[in-house]
Symmetry: C2
């Protein structure tokens, strides 16, 4: 009732913006994934793994290092590597310096799949995100993301 007290719950308009925002970003992610899948037979997860391995020395990484690089939990990575190994996109090798460890190695098939996916991926990012926004909106999107990230801690 007081004009100075901070409102506890969002207004209808704020909720409308929230719904639009969260649903749209979800749809964006889905569309990106669908294009990658259709054109390259890769999921976004596959792409992230292949990208990290491609940039690594010798196209190989310790499993935990890979998980850190792409920001995944180790168990998620382990499950995903299992599926990728079945498709021969990567290979697991024992680590010589630490018998507990495993090294994830990019296979030729994986490297080829990644090469084939780069252009479609970047094109989709441009079409669905960069070109959809004005330069001012793109800047604002970066600032909004930073503000949200700061709040997430």
């Amino acid at each position: 009732m007081t004009g100075t007290t901070r409102r506890v719950q969002p207004t209808t308009e704020e909720l409308r913006v929230w719904r639009g925002f969260i649903e749209t970003t979800e749809a964006l992610r889905a569309e990106l994934g669908a294009r990658l899948q259709a054109e390259c037979a890769l999921s976004p997860g596959d792409y992230a793994v292949l990208l990290a391995l491609s940039e690594a020395e010798g196209q190989r990484l310790r499993s935990s290092q890979l998980a850190d690089d792409i920001g995944w939990e180790r168990s998620r990575l382990s499950h995903h590597l299992g599926r990728m190994e079945k498709r021969a996109l990567i290979r697991r090798e024992e680590c010589r310096t630490d018998n507990r460890g495993a090294e994830v190695v990019l296979t030729p098939e994986g490297a080829a799949a990644f090469r084939g996916a780069t252009v479609p991926h970047l094109t989709a990012v441009r079409e669905l995100f960069v070109d959809a926004l004005t330069p001012e909106q793109l800047t604002a999107a970066g600032e909004i993301a930073a503000a949200l990230r700061a709040r997430l801690g």
Copy 2:
């Protein structure tokens, strides 16, 4: 090479904004879900279903109508309703006017769960989204979402 030709691939800066944006919105969704789960033992999907049923006449909806309301594919809804029915949050009844159809009915347990989740949910939206942004950023977020949605078609 020409200054007037549209760049085919995103610049490094554009890609940086893209990555920050998509990862942050994903983290936001995850945090929302985690809070709802921790405080109310409901997933975002559960919440969407319960919200739609709560607002429906007689707290019941035809399955397809519910799917339309929350923008889900029917098979996704069917799987989710199966899980919710096991927890007694909803109940399925045969539809009297169309023998193919099913009606989804909110149970007292489901209604109670939804009541308990409303405030935590709105509080989380305010804390993680509305309060994280300036009024200008909130407006911009709405416009950005609209622009992206327009591009998605």
